[in-house]
């Protein structure tokens, strides 16, 4: 039988109290920090989950921000292209009425030409639309505007800001404005201005309607319509055809925009859902279950009080109390 002395009793009691207090303090720490994992050794695998989940959460937030930004770009482009489309339709109507020779006097043709020039200015303005101080049709150039009128040096006409680098490699993403919506996917959030508005880079002459920017084309039509003599109907007709092609191009660009907008908004939904899922997973791993911890704390407190009570009783009596 083990011999028990006051000293051994006192030491074991103190050790037990210490153990009780240690448990209390670890529960207290969990309650006061609100976290189950306060250092890596509390739960090594849980810690790695926490790090990974936090990283994923940051990425999801970033993807959601990217999608927001992309949607803003595409909305800006969409508005500009819708308006352009309406303006071009009007230009088509005007050209058509100019072709209607019998009904037009020289004055009315001059009025049509004026209106066409107005449309040209407005389309040029639309082509130079900006979002957050960046021309949305100018790709990744830092130019102030997507199109500038170059009448001093060759090539003359409306020169697109972007150089030919992007044209050289059709698969290349160079020059495109891209937004990452998940680890593997990037979505294009701009439209190459040349696709919607064309440019004058390869224009061979004033009547090379097919290789001419819409601005030059509108200028040219206005010039053809506003003439003192008989208007050159063949050319106007050809220009009308070119306007129709341009309309189709703008329509195609609009459908590109629509597709990408759909991709972005679904990506945004996914990112939002993922944020919620990740946050709750993170909370599940690292946050303290308050109810459980408080109950544990209460139990621990009862145990501690019992231990204190026992200590007070156990260390009091001695044979000396009973001897006279």
């Amino acid at each position: 039988m083990t011999r028990v002395t006051h000293r051994t009793m006192q030491e074991s009691t103190l050790a037990n109290l210490q153990r009780n207090l240690t448990s209390m303090s670890s529960l207290q720490e969990r309650l006061s920090t609100g976290k189950n994992i306060n250092r890596a050794s509390d739960d090594p695998t849980g810690t790695v989950s926490v790090l990974q989940l936090r990283q994923d959460l940051r990425a999801a937030e970033q993807y959601s921000r990217n999608a927001d930004d992309g949607l803003a770009w595409l909305t800006t482009i969409d508005t500009a292209l819708q308006t352009t489309s309406a303006q071009l339709r009007k230009a088509q109507d005007l050209t058509l009425s100019a072709l209607n020779q019998g009904a037009q006097s020289e004055d009315s043709r001059a009025a049509i030409a004026l209106e066409l020039r107005g449309i040209k200015d407005s389309v040029l303005g639309l082509a130079n639309t900006k979002y957050l101080d960046r021309s949305v049709f100018a790709g990744t150039t830092g130019m102030d505007s997507a199109y500038a009128l170059n009448d001093t040096a060759a090539p003359s006409g409306h020169v697109y800001a972007q150089t030919s680098a992007a044209v050289a490699a059709p698969d290349s993403k160079d020059g495109q404005v891209l937004r990452r919506i998940d680890a593997a996917t990037q979505v294009r959030v701009d439209i190459d201005g040349r696709k919607a508005f064309g440019d004058d880079q390869e224009m061979s002459g004033p009547d090379d309607f097919a290789k001419m920017s819409v601005f030059t084309l509108l200028d040219r039509v206005a010039g053809l319509v506003q003439t003192s003599g008989e208007p050159d109907l063949t050319s106007i007709n050809a220009a009308y055809g070119a306007l129709k092609t341009r309309m189709t191009a703008v329509g195609a660009a609009l459908s590109d925009v629509g597709t990408n907008m759909n991709r972005l908004s679904s990506a945004q939904d996914v990112a939002e859902d993922r944020k919620v899922a990740l946050s709750s997973a993170l909370s599940g791993v690292e946050d303290t279950d308050l109810t459980e911890t408080i109950v544990q704390m209460q139990m621990q407190e009862v145990a501690y009080k019992a231990a204190l009570g026992a200590t007070a009783k156990v260390l009091q009596p001695s044979l000396m109390d009973f001897l006279r």
């Binding site: 011999r3 006051h6 030491e11 739960d43 990744t140 990037q186």
Partner: protein
Amino acid sequence: MSSSFSGISTALSGLMAHRKAMDIAGNNIANANTAGYTRQRTDLQSIPGQSVPSLFSTGSLSGNGVSVAGVTRMGDEFLNGKVRSQVSTYADLSGRAATLVDLERIVNEPSTTGLSSQLGKMWDAWSKLVTAPSSDAARVAVINTSQGVVDTLANAAGAVNSLWSQTRAEASAQVDEANAVAADVADLNKKIKSIVASGGQANELMDQRDQAVVRLAELTGAVAEPADDSGVVDVHLRGGALVQGGRAQRLELAGSSSMQAVRAGGEDLHLQWASTGTDVGALVGGSVSATFAALNGAIPDEAAVYDEIARTLATKVNAAHTQGYLANGAPGGSFFGVLAGSSAYTATSIRLAVTETQQIAAAGPAGSGISNTDGSNADKIFQISSDDGHGDPSAAGPDRKWAAHVVDIGSRTQTASLRSTVTQATMAASVSDQQAAAGVSLDEETANLLVIQRAYEGAARVLTAVDQALDTLINRTGLVGR
């Protein structure tokens, strides 16, 4: 036939023996709370009567009273040995756990200020630069958050380095203490030997000496064994005699004096005998052993991890950055550089090579026309954040390597703390066993005291009885009829 007065001397022997027993019980009670005190017991022995048959021997005689044969220390040498071995194991394991806890504190994960969240902020900044390559604010954020990562790495590496220096100072203090304690043991051995040789009691000195031996075991993991019957204890360390009788051999701390030296392959920290300069050998148990494990392994390894993170970060980011282009179309340079005079990327030498916002190569394609507001290279750098090395952990990005390290140090700390807690319980059990044998029980001493007191009273009573008998004999005899 015995003398008429022999009763008096018998009673006197009882009085003296019990006085002595009372003294010992009093000493036990006085030392009830003295650390390392071993309770003592008075061994009483009856004094036999004349028993050798001889010419004038007279029949059966009673004994001649009682004498104190000795005072026994109630300790158990085996239990003491068990305590020494447990104490040294616990000192070793708890020391190792303490180092890991310190390192884990430097790791500071999971938190909002640790390396992983600093890295996260940096990747966030790169990712924001993708959406706004022309924004100076986004570029400034990239530089500032990257500087944050560099600072965090440098702080952590500095903390690891100063932990090494502190631990080195601790090792030196431990060795000094071991030498002082060994000298104490030798000194006490000498005193005990001379007292025991002259027939005295050296119990209290033995208690002190045993305490010192336990401390020596706790420090170095040394083992002790009784040298001979004279109460002297020898202490051995890895086969060498640390204390032999009254002579102690000095220990010396040897090996590299800086963490850089240890990491460069310099001599590990170890103990050597001061007199011969020979290596003591790998220590088994004891806090010096834990300190050496920290100085030679755990702390330099931790520093290597920070350097590896810095190297990975710098090489991965630079590889991508030099492939990108500045806003003006010029090719990008290195994003991270090293402190002047350093050759490799380490946690302390890594610096930002890029200081101006326009030096950040955010653009992917070459050429001034399309690179002004392109952010595709920034995106490529952002991708490093989720680089898992395609299944090869050694090729992974800094975040994955860091996460792997966090789980590693976390589980090592957890295991070490658990082992230390378990050993602590075992140690507590053996200390309690030892205390059970050697500790003073007040109840027991009080009961003993009671018995001794009664015996003393009894002896006094016997004295009175003999006295009265003699009074009758001397003063009352021959007075009949007077």
